[in-house]
Symmetry: C2
Subunit: 329 residues, 2 copies
């Protein structure tokens, strides 16, 4: 890996912009360009990197080492990732948990069949949190783990509120319940309901004359998204939304408690936590570290679909094996 | 891996006993026996597993998949691990940081030359904390990381106190300074001196008639061990030592703070923490998870010396790739 790794971005939203900025922090990488389904002339990148039409992407097959696909999990990635894995080494951040086995199989077939290497479901959850759960489960086989998310903006929940008639804009924060976190950290191994783990805070800009009481009721009773949670709805002005809610912070904890010893008398608590000012920029940073590993695996002739569980940690690092042993072990 | 992996223990102290108990939590493993340099007749295991003389270990070369070497880093492991790697797949918890490159080279030569697979420096630090540092550095290239240890018993420091004339017994706790931890978590990126990061608490049983003032002075002024720290010395009775200080708790934190974005305006905090009732039992649990990976790598013909950085996380798990994708991703 003496030559710079050539990265390209497919899809230019918050995540794509995060990748664009993140490449600058990785001196062993070079950004070839951004591919967009919009009119390339109308897209201006943050760093001046060139923009190309998504339909032209295959022309760049020989010029890109790893293509980072920055699309949505609902409808984009299930189609894009298998299609692009036929021409590129690819990475996505697919996070629809129930559909991972199906997505994995589709991407694996496309990548393996064309001698490419693909990574799905990278980021922080799935991604770093998945790694934390795996390491913790392996080290403490007899235990129980918990994942808490927040305080942070859930884009999916924000979108769900925006679809309600009379809503102009909305931001939803997922918030872990402090008492639940404390009980878990204390090793109580509590059984926690959905409602006991997280609350939901919604900030809503209503259209002029909209029935705010009805909007609040529709939010709080929305199945899957809000009905199982204690939800707080606050109506704010457009100016307040712009002033207080334009950032996309997030974070959370993975905690595993377990026991060892003669009578399992010794208790242990393992915790991995993140507190992020920008969810998309941090996710992008994870994707870039993973891109390094995928490029290297491809260079070794390891093809097909991978997850973070398959990446040797050393392959994520720009440092040599000697350097990481000397400085990080 | 349908057959049980055959594990053996070389060296039967606190860590060896931890491995013995830990095997029971891993249904895909079987404990062949314990090897000791003491008289095997005089050693009684906790679970009734057979005890053999260390000098007979080579006779078991065909009966053991992975040998876990539970010796000290100062004088045992630099000799034992390379010697045993000629006949076995081996794992140790070598933790003398400055000597890791030399130890790695010696073990690599022995293992590679005899088609064995070896892992050095496994445990939690080095080990899980090393992994945390690596992942964090790869994900946030522009940042700063900190490792705090404790509150926990440092065996090396306890031993150093016991060597002072007039000391009958001693226990030393390493304690992180709460204000330092808070400043790091707040993203202040402080430059911290040794003294600002940790304090040392010593509990000492003096011999009858010993000069406790002199002992206290000798502890506090001991170079490398205590002179650079704020150290508290408390004299206690033998009964108090037995009542309050027979456990070996430990733990700590790895924290990395870093920034991303246009002007590096978004800050992120990553933290991995451990709170352990029993340092040796937890370390043993890590070694066992690593043994699984080393056994599998050997089965694939991957030989030589490895560190935790080289182990694909999936190889640590008893679950199949499909299962870990479905349940942990």
């Amino acid at each position: 890996m003496n030559e710079e790794m050539k990265i390209a971005i497919y899809g230019y939203g918050n995540l794509g912009r995060g990748v664009e900025l993140g490449v600058r922090q990785n001196p062993d990488m070079e950004l070839v360009g951004v591919f967009t389904r919009r009119d390339p002339q109308a897209v201006k990148t943050l760093t001046g990197v060139p923009v190309y039409a998504a339909e032209d992407v295959e022309k760049f097959a020989e010029k890109v080492d790893v293509l980072i696909i920055c699309g949505g999990s609902a409808s984009d990635l299930p189609v894009m990732t298998p299609a692009l894995a036929k021409c590129f080494n690819v990475i996505d951040s697919f996070d629809t948990h129930a559909r991972i086995p199906e997505h994995f199989a589709n991407v694996d077939q496309a990548a393996a069949g064309s001698c490419h290497t693909a990574l799905i479901s990278a980021g922080w959850d799935p991604g770093l949190f998945s790694l934390a759960r795996l390491y913790m489960n392996c080290v403490l086989p007899e235990g129980k783990d918990y994942t808490f998310w927040g305080r942070g903006v859930s884009q999916g929940h924000s979108d769900a509120i925006r679809r309600i008639p009379g809503v102009k804009d909305a931001r939803q924060y997922t918030v872990p319940v402090p008492e639940a976190l404390e009980r878990v950290r204390a090793g109580e191994n509590p059984e926690l309901t959905t409602r006991q783990k997280h609350t939901r805070e919604c900030y809503v800009v209503a259209e002029d004359g909209a029935d705010t009481a009805l909007i609040e009721k529709q939010i709080k009773e929305m199945p899957n998204y809000f009905a199982d949670y204690d939800t707080a709805v606050t109506f704010i002005t457009e100016a307040e939304m712009k002033r207080d809610h334009m950032e996309l912070p997030h974070g959370g904890q993975v905690i595993r408690t377990g026991a060892t010893g003669q009578e399992n008398g010794h208790h242990h608590v393992m915790e991995f936590s993140l507190k992020l000012d920008s969810n998309p920029e941090f996710t992008a940073s994870v994707l870039l570290a993973c891109a390094r590993a995928i490029g290297r695996m491809h260079g070794r002739g390891i093809y097909g679909c991978k997850t973070v569980f398959d990446l040797a940690p050393a392959d994520l690092s720009p440092l040599s094996p000697e350097e990481i042993r000397a400085h990080l072990l």
